[in-house]
């Protein structure tokens, strides 16, 4: 039809897309670039786009030592932080799933007094400034000896993941028509039988997605870990600040640490793409 105009529109759109993609990808590309540069390349000016890549920065960050022995390092215990993050995040996710699945089912299937109010209160925690919760926790934890312990951190992190999990899984349960449960109950199954044979298989992908998203949220959290952890229990995201505090130019290592930190989130996120929109918006938009 309107061949000419259509092509122009297409060209403009393509240009727009390229700009967006550059905006998205370039920082990641650049930081990755820095992470495989030698200290000299990193601070060279003009910045280098072509250079001899090296894995030294990763070695320093992960193993705490330089293979070639010529890198300055700060004493960060990066693998330890990584492990801390794993423990705290997994703990929070497992806890949220254990109590979240029944709660979500209850919200989806039953009516009880104050249900919607309570559900909304849960959501509103998402909007509370983090510090208003963390500072008291810091004070209280110090007093009762929870400060810097895994238990204390898991408790704090589940405050982030549990409301989210309940909201999201409630939506997944509501996607299962109640008729399926009716049919199975008429077919002679107990409440537990119906839950196990019908609901669980159908919601399993939703639970997995919720778990992964919770894990990512916990992993990405900065403030909770920064304030409530001791050196021994510091999670990986706040630990990155360690590279900044020293006024040394350790950019290559910082870049390597940043890449390592964001890798788990990115990889996990790709697995659950289908649920991302729903998850990030607490189920308010079904993507």
């Amino acid at each position: 039809m309107d061949g000419e105009r259509l092509t122009l529109g297409k060209v403009l759109s393509a240009v727009g897309l390229v700009i967006i993609m550059l905006w998205t990808i370039f920082p990641l590309y650049w930081v990755f670039n820095m992470s495989i540069q030698t200290p000299i390349d990193v601070i060279s000016y003009p910045p280098k786009f072509v250079f001899d890549p090296t894995l030294e920065n990763y070695s320093v960050v992960l193993l705490g030592k330089s293979w070639l022995g010529k890198y300055e390092t700060v004493q960060t215990d990066f693998p330890r932080y990584f492990l801390n993050s794993l423990i705290v995040c997994s703990g929070a996710v497992i806890l949220s799933m254990l109590v979240g699945v029944p709660a979500a089912y209850s919200l989806a299937r039953y009516n009880f007094r104050g249900k919607e109010n309570f559900a909304f209160t849960l959501l509103s925690f998402r909007f509370a400034p983090g510090l208003i919760v963390i500072i008291p926790l810091f004070v209280i934890f110090r007093r009762i000896g929870f400060y810097g312990t895994y238990y204390g951190m898991i408790f704090a992190y589940q405050l982030l993941t549990l409301p989210f999990s309940v909201w999201l899984m409630r939506g997944f349960f509501e996607d299962i028509p109640p008729e399926l449960e009716y049919a199975a109950r008429i077919d002679g199954y107990s409440w537990w039988g119906v839950f196990r044979k019908i609901d669980l298989p159908l919601i399993a992908p939703g639970i997995a997605a919720t778990g992964i998203l919770s894990f990512i949220f916990a992993w990405n959290e900065f403030l909770f870990g920064y304030i409530l952890s001791s050196d021994a229990t510091r999670p990986v995201t706040p630990s990155l600040m360690g590279f900044i505090s020293y006024e040394q130019v350790l950019w290559g290592q910082m870049a390597a640490a940043a890449i390592i930190t964001l890798l788990p989130s990115v990889i996990l996120a790709i697995f659950i793409q289908r649920y991302l929109v729903r998850g990030l918006t607490f189920g308010a938009v079904k993507g």
Partner: protein, 300 residues
């Protein structure tokens, strides 16, 4: 016998809703304790190092009202929110449009587009800090190589706020774009066909049909982004720590300094309670608007 066992079952089934819900309730109620603690402590002169706390009524709040630092923080917070939300909504809408055109490789583009949302905001801030370095940073290099002057970026008192806004936009623009994209994809197809057959112009259709249909989605984006920006801490702290010279000092960051650097806990809590009140009132309003919009579109 059978009747008895059945009636016992029905007792269980009557209370099952609460029994299932209780564990989660108890755990999340945990959030109320620190929350209440904050509110109570905002009426004291609680000092962490001295360990003293005396009730001083509205003392902290009166002090706040007279504190130019606080008013500056409030201004910075609002400017940050307006700037970031405007960019995220505008660019997000444009991105959603472009990603919905069905261009080749669409699936890959969409996946890549989403990557920044998955980054820990603090890490993203550090990444950008590296690139925004005034001397060795790649941004200034790129600007200068096309003949533009460089910028002090995070280091300049006039450019710092814009720089942190840019970082926030980097991380969260895809979030807005993705929700708009979902909204656009969920638009019913047939009303548009009906409008096409009825000979209604596309601008009329966009204005009278698309915008009202997308209203719930637009409100959701606003809700999440405004709330997040008002309380944003990670990005600003990791990028500038509030500097230079309070140029990016938001209420959250200020409260952090009052509490952990200057150990004025009571005063810090007063900051946070004010911030929380603003956030809560706004979210209450926006959620109400959102529910109204949803019911207009979907009828429930």
């Amino acid at each position: 016998m059978s009747v008895e066992s059945r009636s016992r079952q029905s007792f269980w089934s009557k209370n099952i809703a609460w029994l299932l819900f209780m564990p989660a309730f108890i755990l999340t109620a945990g959030i109320l304790i620190p929350f209440g603690y904050s509110v109570v402590m905002s009426f004291t002169d609680f000092n962490l190092t001295a360990g003293t706390s005396n009730f001083i009524g509205f003392g902290n709040y009166i002090k706040l009202a007279k504190d130019p630092e606080f008013w500056n923080a409030l201004k910075v917070t609002i400017l940050f929110t307006i700037g970031a939300v405007a960019i995220e909504v505008g660019a997000g809408f444009a991105s959603a449009y472009l990603l919905n055109l069905g261009m080749r490789g669409q699936k890959i583009w969409r996946t890549l587009f989403l990557l920044p949302v998955m980054l820990p905001p603090a890490v993203a801030a550090i990444m950008w800090k590296l690139m925004m370095a005034p001397i060795q940073g790649v941004f200034n290099y790129l600007l200068q190589s096309v003949g533009l002057p460089g910028s002090q970026w995070l280091g300049g008192s006039s450019s710092a706020l814009f720089s942190v806004i840019l970082i926030d936009a980097y991380v969260f623009m895809p979030f807005a774009g993705m929700i708009f994209l979902a909204g656009v994809q969920n638009l019913p197809k047939e009303p548009y066909e009906a409008a096409a057959v009825d000979g209604v112009s596309s601008w009329f259709t966009f204005r009278r049909l698309t915008i009202p249909l997308l209203k719930p989605v637009i409100l959701i984006v606003l809700l999440f982004r405004i709330m997040d920006c008002l309380k944003q801490f990670d990005i600003i702290y990791a990028a500038t720590k509030g500097g230079p010279a309070s140029a990016t000092m938001t209420i959250s960051v200020q409260a952090y300094y009052h509490s952990f650097r200057w150990t004025n806990m009571g005063y810090a809590f007063a900051h946070l309670v004010i911030l929380w009140a603003i956030v809560y009132a706004l979210s209450y309003f926006l959620v109400g608007q959102w529910r109204k919009a949803v019911s207009e579109v979907h009828g429930y």
